[in-house]
Symmetry: C2
Subunit: 353 residues, 2 copies
């Protein structure tokens, strides 16, 4: 029976424990808060509370600021491989500096924090970045990679610095930007919040990430400082260039830039691996009670399996469009059923396989 | 019978026609494209194709670049009030320069362009900005205001310059910023689009507006140039200040700024006027087939009326949370039903009335 140890039994650590145990591992766990470790045992996320010098794999699932010290301690306890789940990789990999440490970052989270939000399915279909380096021990990497893949995650191997640059661009800086945009809007509204009624669905979508708890961000920004500063500089340069184009009234350059962005956005990978051969059913919907239940209930009645669903708001106003990912035959059935009920659905093939 | 004329029978113009006719108006309409005006007549958006010198109200619903000329022509045709529906107000109001012209901007749109997307309900509950000035004729304003309110819209009166500043901050600059963020991500991905798999649901939400057609933006940016440039300067200054805070490792200032943004985001007005006394049911959901239909079907089975629904993605990863707005009694019923089926819903009172 392979043996694993989890350090930190919050949402991700406890989910790792649940998922590894389901794969037949014996899992030991600790937490800075003994009550939380005990709770992890109660819910079945660990077999026992405590450390395990014989662990083949130790997963450090603490906040990012504590990873290096905990990983170093785990490496000193025994000969197994050690990985972590933190959102910043290069400083941690450098600080630990062991061939048996493989940095990791599962792109998975949950609305619900803590052990009670944990789920053995959390990593099913998720992207899980591993950051081996030239010094990484091949056996340690193989152990970590096999364990992660067995949890249903898709492994993407990247150099630690590259990981940090990418998350700065696609996560950290967008988050800081959303906060800045909300700040500007609040400043603009001043004493008259009614003017924010001019903020349509698009603004709500864009700034939703800023509505989360900010407590993790000082750690993240501290650990990934250099990549974030570099990405902020690039964003400011890009906005400066847009400013120049707008100020000059250069319509052609503006249109070309927005068209490039549109194409790039359309090329974003789907939220999860999409079975090929599906079509997108677009259903403009009014903002009225029950419309979503009506559409999804009809889908259920017609035996249509919805593989993905998004609600996109129009650029202006609050009307939306439901984007339903369905197989072509079911899509035609649902389209006809919706049309009979007064909707105006349209079917489009997906732009990508 | 009050008489109206619509200039431009696209989505908004045709919707105005349908809605005014339902309120008992006689509506005449024209379009640069005669076939589109004829189509508007066929679908009942106008009683007749043509102009109407006796119109009490003319609504100019052309692209923003053509508004001033069309409004001026309408003012010359007869003694009635004239308004428009363009997204930029100050340059248009100044160019037209008539007491009988009242600038307008309904915050309403649809996924589906053109007369075939038109709906008499488009403005139900929408915010509709009117921009009277010190020179505005009170009778003209009263005519426009009463007509707009009769379509179910909520009127917000603002000076034209103030409107333009606000939409620059809550719409135009966020749109340009979303495009810039997508551009950076595409540049970062370079030849390896697989790295964009590190972009989680939050990035998709933030950049969704950039996936729309860019064709309206050269006009919008041209007409609202000064306000957009000023708002871009403010955003760049805000990002520069964040950069300084991150580079200095100033955790307290960073946390305070993000916390202010969180509070401001929570204070954004709801997508539409919310009946008071509702509660928010939060349901963490996995990304698996059918989960949305399951939740909404259960709501239907339990007789629960969903007043609003959002899907929010977790800051990291692809899990989501459904936010359902329901009345407290129904919310408790749905919460219990969901809990029986293995979900972990929680109920929270809305932060605002």
């Amino acid at each position: 029976m392979p043996r694993a140890a989890v350090v930190g039994t919050g949402l991700v650590g406890a989910s790792v424990g649940l998922a590894l145990r389901r794969q037949g591992w014996h899992v030991t766990g600790t937490d800075r808060d003994p009550a939380r470790a005990e709770r992890a045992r109660e819910v079945g996320a660990v077999d026992a509370v405590g450390t395990d010098p014989g662990a083949d794999l130790t997963v450090v699932a603490t906040p990012v600021g504590a990873v290096a010290a905990e990983a170093t301690a785990a490496l000193a306890r025994g000969p197994g491989a050690v990985t972590d789940v933190g959102g910043v990789k290069a400083p941690v990999v450098a600080a630990v500096g062991s061939p048996r440490f493989v940095g990791g970052h599962p792109m998975a989270g949950s609305e619900q924090d803590g052990v009670d939000g944990a789920s053995a399915d959390l990593f099913e279909g998720a992207t899980w970045v591993l950051t081996p380096t030239a010094d990484t021990d091949p056996d340690a990497y193989a152990t970590v990679r096999a364990a992660v893949a067995s949890l249903g995650a898709e492994v993407v191997a990247l150099p630690p610095e590259r990981h940090d640059e990418i998350v700065a661009v696609v996560s950290h800086v967008p988050h800081l930007t959303a906060a800045a945009l909300v700040g500007l809007a609040a400043e603009e509204a001043g004493e008259d919040p009614a003017v924010l009624r001019l903020a349509a669905g698009g603004f709500r979508d864009m700034t939703r990430v800023a509505s989360g708890s900010p407590t993790i961000w000082p750690d993240v920004c501290g650990e990934n400082r250099d990549a974030i500063v570099a990405a902020l500089d690039r964003l400011v340069a890009a906005l400066g260039s847009v400013r120049g184009v707008v100020a000059a009234g250069d319509r052609a350059t503006l249109l070309a830039g927005l068209e490039r962005a549109r194409a790039a956005r359309a090329g974003l990978p789907a939220r999860w691996a999409r079975p090929s051969g599906l079509v997108e059913l677009r259903v403009p919907v009014p903002d009225r009670r029950g419309v979503l239940a009506e559409v999804t209930t009809l889908a259920t009645d017609l035996g249509v399996d919805i593989a993905d669903l998004e609600i996109a708001h129009a650029a202006s106003g609050d009307r939306g469009v439901l984007l339903l990912l369905v197989d072509p035959e079911a899509g035609a059935r649902l389209r006809d059923g919706l049309a009979e009920r007064g909707y105006r659905p349209s079917v489009a093939p997906l732009g990508r396989p």
